[in-house]
Amino acid sequence: GIQVEQSPPDLILQEGANSTLRCNFSDSVNNLQWFHQNPWGQLINLFYIPSGTKQNGRLSATTVATERYSLLYISSSQTTDSGVYFCAVATDKLIFGTGTRLQVFP
């Protein structure tokens, strides 16, 4: 089946810093989504982005489907950005990546 790897696995930032999270996948996909799981377990859908670039406030995402990767950019990070970031891709079903655990300190 398709493999979805995220890097880095862990990231520690000070408030105000910028970061880039990466998602690599091993096969062509029909769907790519980025999620943020907060410390209480809630998964929030950040982007639906099978290709191209999208921006939402301090967050933006770019997917290069032909090269099988996606990037999530977080600018001016805040403590509320802490949690785990998952990318998820779909061929016949949605598969979650390994996740990046982000901690933002004041």
Binding site: N30, N31, Q33, F35, W40, G41, Q42, L43, I44, N45, Y48, P50, F86, A88, A90, T91, D92, K93, L94, F96, G97, T98, G99
Partner: protein, 114 residues
């Protein structure tokens, strides 16, 4: 209203108990999902319902029994669980079960099996 509601938020049960997890959405979505998430791992798909019919069962043990009484409700009935079934159980919904749909998740039920 873009909310998926799950109850209860926490559940502790013994291995001989029978309990149910509930999920509700009022977005008019016709596909609903159960995912299981162990600590520090990504969510894993268990079941998919499409138009109230079970369309995907990811070889889940029969001690987990899903039910979709109507288009807004999804239940997961639990019986004779094992301690290794302790996990966060997440419900999700989407407009249809096509793989290119955006998923909306509930906040989950944290289950502990003693």
């Amino acid at each position: 209203d873009t909310e998926v509601t799950q109850t209860p938020k926490h559940l502790v049960m013994g291995m001989t108990n029978k309990k149910s997890l509930k999920c509700e959405q009022h977005m008019g979505h016709r596909a609903m999902y159960w995912y299981k998430q162990k600590a520090k791992k990504p969510p894993e798909l268990m079941f998919v319902y499409s138009y109230e019919k079970l369309s995907i069962n990811e070889s889940v043990p029969s001690r987990f029994s899903p039910e979709c009484p109507n288009s807004s409700l999804l239940n997961l009935h639990l019986h004779a669980l094992q301690p290794e079934d302790s996990a966060l159980y997440l419900c999700a919904s989407s407009s249809t079960d096509r793989v290119n749909e955006k998923l909306f998740f509930g906040s989950g039920t944290q289950l502990s099996v003693l």
